[in-house]
């Protein structure tokens, strides 16, 4: 099928915008860069919508959606068999991701026109946003795992640049380094996984790897290492890469700190798009993982489940509005991973896969909305701390309304999008793994509780002492809020079961009332608890905190994971590994090189006395040398 060649423009426009605003941004007024970037992103957004419309509704085939590769070039040709290609791959999940990324990115571009107004480095901000969007789009349309890896790293770099946007602030610099190092560390696993996978299968192409009934794994089954098959190793290592990007436990530590970046960046990168790259990766490799490495799939399910519970518990005790949202993101990403972990392949069995993608979609909308709402609040009160906020509903009606919608959506209140996607995940979990279902069920309640704790603390309660009366944000910021609110409400009505499925064939998905009703009830219970504790200010929450004592402190300090990592790196790795290596480098390697230099210098100091400047000495040396040579030649020749 042809007619999709124009999709190359979707990532190229942001790339051009990055180059233009990055190179010329200094030359003109900052706002020009902003407007240019926004217009470019808007174009990509429209193109993505057209692509999605054409792809999903243009040619509905009975045997499901095709995988279309409208464009592919050989980028690096190392040998006849090792060729790195670059191209565009369109299948249901990549088209869906195109829509998600361009929608959120466009909204964030628009929103930032208001939010970042007057900041130094406005043009730089837009350049980085464009770079990020380009990389993320390149990632999702990758035709092969190597292309994905390249863009994967580009995404990491742009995330690093944007977290460290306020580079004068030491905490932002530390956070950007932390994010980069942790994800880079995980990417090492990803790279090794790619190498193993391509070694055993001889291909990088997704189209070949994920083809049902493919034979390329035939020879791989016999290979094993430490009693575990090579493919399980490869998939687990690739999952580690995904876990790093998606901030799964125990690589989650960078995400809360990444909130040092500007809020729109958090909305775009650390809520809606980049962090779901890991989920997307697992979904992309899903047939391989499911059929060739079932053990890895188990790991994915349990890691996802544990992360979602762990993060939800921490979110309850946090006071920084963005950190609450960050932990909530972790928790929701855990949901998506878990859904992939419990999914089967094909038809009804693939419910988890569909639910994961569905939740990814709805979550992108409502979490971006939450972050942008939080940005609007921070913009008004100039603080991240929840204890500096209260009673804001009177001052910021639009932010209040949209934030409430987002909270209701994430809490899973019926007929909003979060309800549908979460229900599918719970249903999938129930059919495959009762333990994970129980975990998710609890997390659903916790989610509702901490979101409404946030909501009540910020919008209800008493007024605080503000620097100036909080005011509603300008229209350029509230329009994205309203758009995303509408998307959050109605995204649930998209027929995902017919569009995005594990084997690309539509299936009927029904509402499972046995799951839906209890999950709604526990959500409402969570909301009610939050209402009781935080609607009016009371001493009750503090009393409870005191009563829980150690547990509360541990949760408040995020179970000391940062401290554990610091201990391991500072005390153990730095002292016992880095120091000796540094000593070796400084004294042996450097010493050798410095030795060569100093020896040369000393020798030349000695012999430079021969350069006396006396012409006749030189002449004498010359004549003597010539004579000596002549005599020796005579002697040897005769």
């Amino acid at each position: 099928m042809t007619g999709f060649a124009y999709t190359i423009l979707i990532p190229l426009i942001p790339l051009v915008m990055f180059l233009v605003t990055g190179l010329l941004g200094m030359k003109w007024k900052p706002i020009v860069s902003g407007i240019l970037g926004t217009i470019g992103m808007g174009t990509s957004f429209v193109l993505s919508l057209i692509t999605a419309g054409k792809y999903f509704f243009g040619s509905h085939l009975a045997e499901g959606f095709q995988t279309i590769i409208p464009m592919e070039i050989s980028w690096l040709r190392f040998t006849e068999t090792l060729i790195i290609k670059m191209g565009i791959l369109l299948d249901p999940i990549s088209v869906m991701m195109l829509v998600v990324i361009t929608t959120v990115s466009f909204m964030v571009h628009l929103y930032s026109l208001g939010y970042m107004k007057g900041e130094t480095g406005f043009a730089r901000f837009y350049a980085f946003l464009s770079l990020f969007t380009f990389s993320m789009l390149g990632l999702v349309i990758a035709t092969n795992i190597f292309q994905m890896y390249i863009f994967w790293e580009l995404v990491g770099v742009s995330s690093f640049l944007l977290i460290g946007f306020y580079y004068q602030k030491p905490s932002a610099v530390a956070a950007s380094k932390k994010a980069f190092i942790v994800t880079r560390f995980a990417d090492l696993g990803f790279l090794i996984g790619i190498l193993i996978l391509s070694f055993v299968t001889g291909t990088f192409d997704f189209a070949q790897l994920t083809q049902p009934g493919t034979t390329i794994f035939g020879s791989a089954a016999s290979m094993s290492f430490l009693g575990i098959s090579a493919l399980t190793w490869a998939m687990t290592l690739i999952f580690i890469g995904g876990a790093g990007k998606s901030a799964m436990f125990p690589l989650h530590i960078w995400l809360p700190d990444a909130m040092e970046g500007p809020t729109p960046v958090s909305a775009l990168i650390h809520a809606a798009t980049m962090v779901v790259a890991g989920v997307f990766l697992v979904a992309r490799m899903f047939p391989v993982i499911h059929f060739q490495a079932p053990a890895t799939q188990e790991i994915i399910g349990y890691v996802g489940g544990f992360t979602s519970l762990f993060a939800a518990v921490i979110a309850i005790t946090q006071y920084d509005i963005k950190r609450v949202l960050a932990f909530s993101t972790l928790s929701q990403l855990g949901y998506m991973m878990l859904a992939l972990g419990v999914s089967g392949y094909g038809g009804e069995d693939g419910l988890g896969y569909m639910a994961s993608m569905f939740h990814l979609f709805t979550h992108a909308m409502f979490k971006a909305l939450l972050f942008l709402g939080a940005g609007s609040i921070i913009h008004a009160v100039h603080s991240n701390n929840m204890s500096d906020m209260g009673g804001l509903r009177k001052y910021m009606p639009i932010t209040h309304a949209t934030f409430l919608i987002a909270c209701l959506t994430i809490a899973g209140v019926p007929f909003l999008s979060g309800f549908f996607s979460k229900d599918e995940i719970l249903a999938a979990a129930l059919h495959h793994n009762k333990l994970l279902f129980a975990v998710e069920f609890i997390v659903a309640g916790l989610t509702a509780f901490y979101m409404f704790r946030l909501y009540f603390c910020v919008f209800w309660g008493k007024d605080r002492h503000y620097h100036h009366t909080p005011h509603e944000s300008p229209l350029v910021m509230t329009i994205p809020l309203m758009f995303l609110a509408v998307a959050s409400v109605f995204a649930g009505y998209l027929p995902f079961a017919e569009l995005v499925t594990s084997d690309k064939i539509a299936f009927e998905s029904q509402m499972d009332f046995a799951v839906a009703i209890p999950s709604v009830l526990i959500g409402l219970f969570g909301i009610a608890m939050a209402w009781l504790l935080y609607k009016k200010e009371s001493a009750l929450p503090e009393k409870l905190a005191l009563k829980w004592g150690v547990l509360y402190t541990a949760t408040f300090n995020k179970f000391y994971f940062d401290e554990i990592y610091l201990f391991v790196t500072r005390k153990i790795i730095f002292n016992y590994i880095s120091r000796p290596i540094a000593w070796f480098d400084r004294h042996i390697i450097d010493g050798f090189m410095v030795g060569i230099g100093t020896t040369t210098e000393k020798v030349s100091y000695r012999i430079k006395g021969m350069q006396s400047g006396q012409l006749q000495q030189y002449a004498f040396m010359f004549v003597a040398g010539t004579l000596a040579l002549t005599l020796s030649m005579l002697y040897f020749l005769m």
Partner: protein, 105 residues
């Protein structure tokens, strides 16, 4: 071919001139004298050219022309050297070669 005079006589004369020149160049301190020593060296070479040309290839002229070139170049070289010596005299007020060591190291 000059009657009664063998090639060795010429070569002895030119060798003596050559080493006189070398010796003068190395041991005299005055730049002008050194320049004259160089002229001696060049002329000894000229004699060699002419003699070898005469005795080995009497019907050819390369040796003659070469010595003419050397005379020309020696003239040019002498003019440049004297110009340099005048400049040295202007800045140092003498022309002893030992004093011309500003550029060492």
């Amino acid at each position: 071919m000059i009657e009664g005079i063998g090639i060795e006589h010429f070569l002895v004369v030119s060798t003596l001139m050559f080493f006189t020149g070398i010796c003068g160049f190395i041991i005299r301190r005055n730049l002008i004298t050194m320049l004259m020593s160089i002229e001696l060296i060049l002329n000894s070479v000229n004699i060699n050219f002419l003699v070898f040309n005469r005795y080995l290839y009497p019907d050819q002229m390369q040796g003659h022309f070469f010595s003419l070139f050397i005379v020309g170049i020696a003239a040019a070289e002498a003019s440049v050297a004297i110009a340099l010596i005048i400049n040295i005299y202007r800045s140092l007020q003498n022309i002893d070669v030992e004093n011309v060591n500003e550029m060492k190291y």
